[in-house]
Assembly symmetry: C2
Homo-oligomer: 521 residues x 2
C-alpha cells in the first residue's frame, strides 16, 4: 500500500462540467481529464459554494461555506481569522505551494489592527491566504509583481511594458492589433505562441517546481486562469472547434419574461448577458471557450506524463476541479454567478494513489460532494489532524476507498451576494440586502432570495431548470420543506471557532476542578 506523500490540487477557472468529455455529452474532447478520471473517481454531483471565483475559492481553501468565511465576493478580503489549507498543513510542518490563481485579497485592515506590516515576512502567509507563492497570477488583469510571467514573456521577445495586454489578450486582425476583451475577436488566435500562453507558462513552472522538490514531499495548488475570459485562445486551439458542433444552446420558456425571477431578469441587463443573449455571439465565442478547455486538457496531459515519468503518480493525490462553470449563452445568459447547475455543478475528479482506492478507480460517484470537501480530503490523506470545529466539509477519502460512510449529506448549498453588481442598482437594493442561498437535493433546487420570492425547480421532471416553481401555489409544501433544510443549515454553521472540540469536552462540567463552586448548599 502506497501512502499519499504529495498532493496536486488542480483548479481550472470557469470550466463547465458538461464541457468535459468523461462527464458525457461534451462538445469538447478532454482525453487527459478523462485519463485522470480513469485512474480515480469522477464525482457526478460536485457543487461549489458560490458561482463566482472569489467566494467559491475561499470555500475551497478554508473548507467552510461562504456564510461562514464571509468573503462573499471577488476582492472581498478573507478574514485574517480564517484558517486555510496552508494553515492546516503548516501545523504539521508542511506547506501549500501556489502556482497560478488564488484570488485571495489580504485583510489589510486586520493586519494594520494587529500591527503587522503588509510586506513583512510574517504577513506573507496572511497576505496570500496561507499559500507559499511559487508564482501567483490571478488572470484577466496584467500580472503583478507576484508573477514572473511578464518578465518571462519579455525574455521571449514580447517587447512591451505590458506584454499580457499587448500580446496574450490581443490578436492580429489583418495588420491591425485588436483586443481579446472584445468577443467579436474570439475567432482570432492570441498574439502569443501557445508555448508562451498563460496555461503553458504555469504548467512549465509547476513541473519545474515539482522536479525541484526531488524526494521532499510537497503540496501544490496548480491553479489555471483558463478557460475564463478573455475568450482568446492561442493557435492552434483558437480554431480547433471553429465551425464544429458547439453543443445545445439552452433556452427556457421563462427567459426574460415577466414571470422570470426579478434578480435573473435584472442580470439580463449586464453587458455579458446582453451579448450572450444573441445566438450569433454564442456561436462565435463558444469555439474559443472550447479551445481554451482543450488547451488546459493538453497541459494537464503534460503534467500527468511528467508525474508518471517521475514515479509521482504512485504517491500523489490529485484533485482536479473548477471554481465554477459558465453559462456561455444558455438561458440567454453570459458568464456565471446565478445558481443554476451550469454554474454551481462542476467537474471534480480525485485520484488517490493508495491501494485502498483501487476498487473505485475509473468509477463515477453520484453522491453529493462540495468544494469545501477538498481541504478535509487533503488533510486526511496526509494524516494531519482535522479541525472539525472549523471545517464544514467532509473528507472524500471514505468514498474513494470504498467505505460506506454513515449519513452522507443529502443536499448541497451555494450562495450569491450580488451587492457589487449592476443588478443591485437595477433592483434598487442596498449593499447589505443582496443575498441568495441555494439548497439542492437530488429532487429539488430551492433558492432563497432576500427581498424576493424564492426560486424552485423540480429536478426530476425538469432537469434543466426551465420552469421556476417558486411562486406556484401547488408547491408550497415543497418550498416549506426546502426552507427547513436551509434553516437547519444556517442554524448549524460553525461559529465557535476559537476553541476546538477537545477543549470543550475537557471543560465540560469542570468548574469544580477549577475551584469554582456553583450553587452548592
Amino acid at each position: 500500500m502506497t501512502a499519499v506523500r504529495n498532493v496536486l490540487f488542480v483548479m481550472c477557472d470557469q470550466l463547465r462540467r458538461d464541457f468535459v468529455s468523461c462527464y458525457g455529452g461534451s462538445p469538447v474532447e478532454t482525453p487527459n481529464i478523462d485519463r485522470l478520471a480513469a485512474r480515480g473517481v469522477r464525482f457526478d454531483n460536485a457543487f461549489v459554494q458560490a458561482g463566482v471565483c472569489g467566494p467559491a475559492r475561499m470555500s475551497f481553501y478554508t473548507g467552510r461555506y461562504v456564510n461562514s468565511h464571509g468573503a462573499t465576493w471577488n476582492r472581498v478580503p478573507l478574514s485574517a481569522s480564517e484558517w486555510t489549507l496552508g494553515d492546516y498543513l503548516r501545523v504539521a510542518g508542511r506547506t501549500a505551494a501556489l502556482a497560478g490563481k488564488s484570488h485571495v485579497l489580504p485583510d489589510r485592515q486586520a493586519l494594520t489592527r494587529f500591527g503587522i506590516e503588509l510586506e513583512s515576512e510574517r504577513a506573507a502567509m496572511l497576505r496570500e491566504g496561507g499559500f507559499f507563492v511559487v508564482d501567483r497570477f490571478d488572470g484577466h488583469t496584467p500580472p503583478g509583481p507576484e508573477s514572473g510571467y511578464a518578465d518571462w514573456l519579455r525574455t521571449r521577445g514580447y517587447d512591451s511594458a505590458d506584454p499580457w495586454s499587448d500580446f496574450v489578450i490581443s490578436a492580429l486582425d489583418g495588420h491591425r492589433v485588436v483586443s481579446g476583451w472584445n468577443m467579436r475577436n474570439a475567432h482570432l488566435p492570441s498574439r502569443v505562441e501557445e508555448a508562451h500562453s498563460e496555461t503553458a507558462y504555469m504548467t512549465d513552472l509547476a513541473l519545474d517546481w515539482i522536479r525541484a522538490q526531488a524526494s521532499t514531499p510537497w503540496v501544490l495548488h496548480l491553479s489555471y486562469v483558463k478557460p475564463h475570459w478573455p475568450y482568446l485562445a492561442p493557435a492552434p486551439f483558437h480554431k480547433l472547434y471553429r465551425r464544429k458542433a458547439i453543443g445545445p444552446i439552452l433556452r427556457g420558456p421563462q427567459d426574460g419574461t415577466a414571470d422570470e425571477h426579478p434578480v435573473v431578469r435584472a442580470y439580463r441587463e449586464h453587458d455579458e448577458c446582453v451579448s450572450f443573449a444573441r445566438e450569433d455571439v454564442v456561436r462565435h465565442v463558444r469555439p474559443a471557450y472550447m479551445g481554451l478547455i482543450a488547451q488546459v486538457d493538453y497541459h494537464l496531459g503534460r503534467v500527468l506524463d511528467a508525474l508518471e515519468s517521475m514515479g509521482r503518480l504512485r504517491d500523489t493525490l490529485i484533485v482536479f476541479t473548477s471554481d465554477h462553470g459558465e453559462f456561455s449563452g444558455d438561458r440567454g445568459l453570459g458568464e456565471k454567478e446565478l445558481l443554476y447547475d451550469e454554474i454551481v455543478r462542476v467537474p471534480l475528479i480525485v485520484m488517490d494513489p493508495d491501494a485502498r482506492a483501487d476498487a473505485t478507480r475509473g468509477k463515477a460517484d453520484a453522491r453529493f460532494v462540495e468544494g469545501i470537501d477538498v481541504v478535509p480530503t487533503i488533510i486526511e490523506a496526509l494524516e494531519i489532524p482535522g479541525s472539525p470545529h472549523r471545517v464544514e466539509g467532509r473528507s472524500l477519502l471514505p468514498l474513494l476507498r470504498g467505505e460506506v460512510p454513515t449519513q452522507w449529506r443529502e443536499a448541497v448549498f451555494s450562495e450569491l451576494d450580488y451587492s457589487f453588481r449592476r443588478a443591485r442598482r437595477v433592483l434598487g437594493h442596498g449593499v447589505r440586502d443582496c443575498r441568495a442561498v441555494m439548497v439542492r437535493t437530488g429532487e429539488w433546487k430551492y433558492i432563497h432570495w432576500e427581498g424576493f420570492r424564492p426560486q424552485l425547480f423540480d429536478l426530476a421532471a425538469d432537469p434543466h431548470e426551465q420552469i421556476d416553481l417558486g411562486a406556484d401555489p401547488r408547491f408550497e409544501t415543497i418550498r416549506m420543506g426546502m426552507r427547513e433544510w436551509l434553516f437547519d443549515w444556517l442554524a448549524t454553521s460553525k461559529r465557535r471557532t476559537t476553541v476546538d472540540d477537545a477543549l470543550v469536552e475537557a471543560r465540560t462540567d469542570a468548574h469544580r476542578a477549577h475551584g469554582v463552586h456553583i450553587g452548592i448548599w
Copy 2:
C-alpha cells in the same frame, strides 16, 4: 445644548430586572438606580443576547449577536477579528477604559498565528477585548495580576496570600471560618468590611480614575462583579433583607414533569438547580442576593453624587445594565443560562445629558432593545462614524431624543450553547450539537433547540412562561411564523465584515473603470 463628552457604561453581573425598584414589584429598594432612571430613560423591554456572562458581554462589547461573534460560552476567546467598543473608539482617537469585569479571554491561537507575543504592548488591546485596563477583576475567582485588589486588601490588613478567598468570600460562623461558596452561609456577613468589598473597591478606583481625567473626555466601563454568586454580602447588607419579603417564588405546573422540555429537565440535575429547587434554600439565599443588589445601588449612588459634584452629569452619557438575570429559585431553577425572561430580560437605563433628550427624562420606553445596541449608542453619542457592515445593534439615541425611527425592531434574539454543561452529557449530545436560539416578540417567545422540539410561550396569556406550547398541535401555525423570524434573522446576520458599505458602493459595477471588460462584443 450640551454635547456628550464622556461615557460611563455601568454593568452589573446577574442583576434581575424585577429586583430593581423602578421596574415595579421589586422586593429590593434601589433608590439610586431609580434616580438615574428619573434623569434618563428606563427601557422596559431590554434583552441580552445570551443568558450567561461571556457571550452576553461579547455581544455588549461588539454590538453583534453571539451567532456572529462566535464566543458562545464563558472563556471561549473572542475572535481576534471581532471589533469591540475599544476598537471603534480608537479609530477616533478615544479609549475605552475598564474598571472591573470584562470576561474577555484572549484569542491566543490567533495571536500565535499572527506572530504576536501575548505580553507585548501590541497584544494588550487584543488580549483585553479592546479595553485599556484600569483594573480588571472578573470575580468569582481570586483576582489575577490585572487587578490591584489583592494587594489593596493586604495593605488594609487582610493578611493572606489569597485575601479574596480568605476574607471576601469567607465568613465567620462563631469562631469558625466558613466559605461563601456554600449557600448555607449566605446569612453571614463577609469577612471584609463593606468599604473593602469588591463593589466598594471598584467604585473607589473608578471615581479616582474619573477625577484623574480632569478635563480630558473619557469613556469608562465600570463593571461590577455583583450581585453574582458567591452569595455573601458584607455587613450591613448581609442582613438588610433577612426575614423580609423576598418576592414571589415562581413555580410552574410543568416544572420537572415529563412534558417539560428535555433540556430544561436536564438542567435540573445541575448542582445549583438541585439546591434552588428547595424553597428553604431560596428563602435563605435570596436575602443575600438582595443585599448585594442594595449594595451595588448604594455605590451607584456614590458614583452619581461624585459625577454631580464634578459637573460631569451635564456631559456624560450613562448606561446602566446587567449582563443577564438570575432564577433565584423561580421554576425550581438556579442561576441562569436558560432563555426565560428572568434571565434574558434585563434592566437597562440610559441617561443622555443632551438637551434633545430632555423630553424623555424619567420616562419608560417599551420598545425592544438589545445588549448589542450599547456600542452603536455610544459611538453615535460621541459622533464617531458607525460600522453598519459589522455592528448588528442600533443606536438608542433616536429613542432617547424623542425621534420616531422608522421600522424599529419587533423582536429580540438570544442564544444558548450548553456544550460545556453537564446537561449535554445527561442528554448524550456532542459538543457541537447544543445550540438554542430564541426569538421573542411582544406576544410570543419561540426557542429553537437543536435536536429537540422547540419551546413556545404565549406571553399575552401566560406572561410568566408557565405553559410550554412547543409541542401543542394547536400552535403549529404560530411556531411556523416564529421560525420564519428566526430564518430571516439567521439569513441576514452580518458576515461580510472585511469591507465596509462605502467600499461596496464604490465598487459596484465598477470593473470597466479598472480595465476589466466582461462580455462586450
